[in-house]
């Protein structure tokens, strides 16, 4: 269980990205954070990944306020969070296999276990035949699928995705969303930020609408 309890985030310069936001994320949920640019979607994801810390309020994971977690504990926390980015953040000089293997290498797994899990992840996103290709040799959709494989390969308890279809056309965007949906169906909790309301509406899940740092509708039917 992840809970944002009256979280406010002020950036340097005084910009208020979030204002007393409260949100519960239940295990196995697929949540779409929707809203215009500057609504606070990415800030919530950064808080969930502990790239940023709340200025006020609490970020609770299983009852622990991770918003005050010591810096030395952050790497272990992040290993439980898979991340997918709009620009993929793949290493251009490494083949798809090595990119997907990176979280497992960081986690200290053995070579055989890494090979098994990476191939399984690449198979799940339909790229097993392209494991030796470097990202630049792959299409934008394929690169994003490598990014998804990398995010799920370490079996995270939470997967966050920031505008994962931002650079893709409509057909590819839907395909990527369906990939997310498949992983969610096997129990991965997901929070996906997107400004594409039409796309999000085609996928079943909880839709949380944000505007100017506030939640307009948390999709639970209570707001």
């Amino acid at each position: 269980m992840i809970r944002l309890d009256k979280v406010t985030k002020l950036y340097r310069g005084g910009h208020e990205a979030l204002r007393e936001v409260s949100l519960d994320i239940n295990p196995g949920e697929l949540i779409f954070l929707t809203g215009h640019s500057g609504a606070g979607k990415s800030t919530i994801l950064k808080l969930l990944a502990l790239i940023e810390r709340p200025t006020r309020g609490q970020l609770l994971v299983d009852g622990r306020n991770v918003g005050r977690m010591p810096a030395r504990e952050i790497p272990a926390y992040r290993r439980q969070v898979g991340m997918v980015f709009q620009d993929h953040k793949l290493l251009d000089d490494r083949p798809a296999f090595d990119n997907v293997a990176l979280p497992l290498i960081i986690a200290g797994l053995g070579r055989r276990e890494i090979e098994k899990r990476v191939r399984a992840a690449l198979d799940q996103v339909g790229l097993l035949d392209k494991e030796r290709q470097v990202p630049l040799a792959l299409s934008a959709g394929e690169q994003q699928r490598v990014g998804i494989a990398r995010a799920v390969v370490a079996r995270p308890r939470l997967l966050i995705a920031d505008e994962p279809t931002g650079n893709l056309d409509a057909a590819l965007s839907l395909e990527i969303m369906q990939v997310f949906r498949r992983f969610n169906e096997v129990g991965v909790t997901m929070v996906i930020a997107t400004h594409d309301l039409a796309l999000a509406s085609r996928i079943s899940g909880r839709h949380v609408a944000l505007d100017h740092g506030r939640i307009l509708d948390d999709g639970s039917g209570r707001s």
Partner: protein, 304 residues
């Protein structure tokens, strides 16, 4: 524990592989480190060799104490025994006047002239051998002390050139230490700067790794291994350069030593030098890497 060792080994080999994929850049860095380490090590070997040669010229440090004419043989023996107990003297040999005369008389060049003399003109002489560790200053003091004795006519000691040699070697030795410290510092800066550039080039990889949960130690490790490899390879190159230089100098140095009648077993890269050069290389390589990662890695945080 075995897993940790496996990861360390994998990182060590992976960084070595990465260096081998950039042969020119690696060679240039290793070359600079090798030369920087070889220079002080080579000079140190030469100075140690010089000190060894100077130390082997023990007989040249012997000096003669001529007793006043008329000093009796008993007094000469008594003086010999007395001087022999001095803490800075290793050995004293008494050359009696009659023995000296007989020795000179056997020489055809002097024999006839000496036979023409009515009396033995030669005094009893003490040949004094100082301890090897006695410094030129101590020898000078000894000379003055012996010369002040009433039975002594003259103390003949030629230590000036030894003092100059020792002074030159001391200046060289200190100069080499200063040069060594500066060159090791240069190696640290070279490795540090090379790794700083490497960190900048791999900024994206570092950011992504941290996003995926890599600890600082995980991110730091490959760079420390790069510093280790630079230092080790630089040390090995320095030893190679030293070996070649000493091989080229072996002949001339041997001939120079022979001219002074000194023992010359040849300079060589002994175990101490080998470990010293490799140790200095690895230590300075790791230190440079540590400085670079401490300074620059913490500044890289994930941005999304």
């Amino acid at each position: 524990m075995a897993g940790l060792f496996t990861h360390q080994l994998r990182d060590a080999l992976a960084t070595l592989g990465r260096l081998s994929r950039q042969p020119v850049a690696t060679f240039l860095t290793v070359g600079v480190i090798g030369i920087a380490l070889a220079l002080p090590a080579g000079l140190q070997l030469l100075v140690e060799g010089g000190r060894g040669l100077a130390g082997s010229w023990n007989d040249l440090r012997d000096f003669s104490v001529y007793l006043k004419p008329g000093t009796g043989i008993d007094k000469a023996r008594e003086l010999s025994a007395s001087i022999g107990g001095h803490e800075e003297i290793l050995d004293v040999r008494l050359i009696e006047a009659d023995s000296a005369l007989a020795e000179f008389g056997a020489d055809p060049a002097f024999g006839e002239a000496l036979r023409a003399l009515k009396e033995n003109p030669l005094p009893h002489t003490l040949v004094v051998r100082p301890r090897p560790e006695a410094t030129p200053e101590q020898l000078d003091n000894l000379q003055a002390e012996l010369g002040a004795r009433p039975e002594v006519d003259l103390v003949q000691l030629d230590t000036q050139w030894l003092m100059r040699l020792a002074a030159i070697l001391e200046v060289l030795r200190r100069g080499i230490w200063i040069a060594a410290v500066l060159l090791v510092a240069a190696v640290i800066f070279i490795v540090g700067n090379t790794i700083r550039l490497d960190i900048q080039n791999r900024r994206q990889e570092i950011e992504v790794s941290k996003l995926l949960g890599a600890t600082d130690a995980f991110v730091r490790r490959p760079f420390l291994y790069i510093g280790f490899w630079y230092g080790l390879l630089g040390g090995l190159l320095a030893l190679l350069l030293l070996g070649i230089a000493l091989l080229l100098l072996q002949g001339p140095l041997g001939r120079l030593a022979a001219l002074y009648g000194a023992d010359f077993a040849g300079f060589g890269v002994g175990l101490r030098t080998l470990l010293g050069v490799l140790g200095a290389g690895v230590a300075s390589g790791c230190a440079g890497a540590w400085l670079a990662v401490s300074r620059h890695l913490s500044a890289i945080e994930p941005r999304v």
